[in-house]
Amino acid sequence: MPQTTIYVSPRSLGAPDQRPPSVATTDLARLFAGSPALAGVSLRVDAARTVALLGSNGAGKTTLLRLLATAIRPSYGRGQVDGLDLDRDAALVRERVAYLSHATGLYDDLTARENLRFAAAMLGTPDADARVERALADVALEARATDRVRDFSAGMRKRLALGRILLGRPSLVLLDEPYAALDADGMAIVDQLLSAWREAGVSILIASHATDRLAPYLDGTVVLERGVVAAVSGEGVASLPVGPAGATARVAEAIQ
Amino acid sequence: MTDAGFVIAAYAVIIGGLGLYTVTLWRRLNSARRELDRDDEAR
């Protein structure tokens, strides 16, 4: 069993009601090869909230998370994280967002420790060596620290990717199917992470199907359906009606 | 081939090519605009 207290190092975050919404989007849309993966989302998630993104495959959950992580740029509409524009202030957004994607983003030829050390160097983590060891312990991989990631199972890779997130100082955490591929111990690690972040006042957006498991941590839910918000519930989450696409396009053009 | 032959070959390709490109461009432009209009009507 992993340690019970996981170390997360948030930036110094003010009182939730003093902070801008963690996520605020206006008619945010993204097309791939001409077809909309996200057709238009106007969503607000307040600071220090944990919100689940629900919806069937292809509903646009991953696309929304990638847009918020600045991994991709919006085709239309705009969005903000902590009041920072996804497009104009992308560099600042990156400092505040931690994103766990389907792909783990690990280098096969490096060991677990080397992967985390590299991430720490990229993230500018202070006291990097100690933090890397701590993160390895937190995700219960210290025994495999010197093994190459190439030989890791999917679950171990996922844990290591979670360990990498622990090295940052996010104010918003985006998790795409965090429980996928994990065994019971691994899932327990995710649970602990969620409560640690929640306590630290970090906002969390989770795309997942494991609603029962998530229930104790959630402030609200957002249901996506074919690229638009079908329903929201809970506290600190709101969805505005999306305007006609033509108007969005003109707005987008004006912004450009 | 005489010098005049090369001169004719050069002018034929350059001036002819210019003309050919212009005509092709007209056709491409017309068909693009027609399609645009058709899209508008369809909506």
């Binding site: 057709a39 999306v242 | 050069a10 909506r43």
Partner: protein
Amino acid sequence: MKTRILGFAALAAVAAMTAIALFVVPADLNQGDAQRIMYPHVASAWLGYLSFGVTAISGILWLWKRDLRFDAIAVSGAEIGVMFTAFAIWGGMMWGRPIWGVFWQWEDPRLTTTALLLALYVGYLLFRRLTDDPQRRATRAAIVGIVAAVDIPIVHFSVEWWRGLHQTATIASPDRVLNPAAPMIFVGTLLGMLGAFTLAWGYLMIRRYQLARAELAREEAVRIGRLEDARRGVARSEAAR
């Protein structure tokens, strides 16, 4: 309407200058009739460079202003530039054979430079087709166009030195028409042809730009339509519930 007038002016100018270059101007004393090829050759080469310059500058403007109209200018410049560059190479070859006895004279820096230019921008045009998102295509094309333009002077100097540092046999220089000692009528004809071709270039650039705009508008309309459908689709299915 104005564009149409420009088109007629270009047509008349090109026709007149072609007739003058072929039938009115006397043949060069040394180079004979082959010299007549120089007029459209030099004009085409100049317009090729101009077009690629336009493409690079529009690329920079797109990255700066994020207005897709600049991308439309960029693609117009590249396509028309490729055409004029190909003309320049063809003219150079047709000139080289009677003067130098070979179609391709490696000692001539211009021909080699121009051939590399053609390769650079054919690559640019092919590359453009591989991205279907207009904004991403514009961004990627812009940087490829900028780097290609940055490469042009280096290519030019390197090929120039390549010949210059070797000091091989002196060869007939293609730009003797621009030589100050050349008779005024040659210079006049060259400038006239340059003007006529530049008019044609302006006309073609405008039309090609209009085509690019129409294509962009159509692409955009399709995308907006799909977006609209997706937004309405869910609204409908909710109403049905």
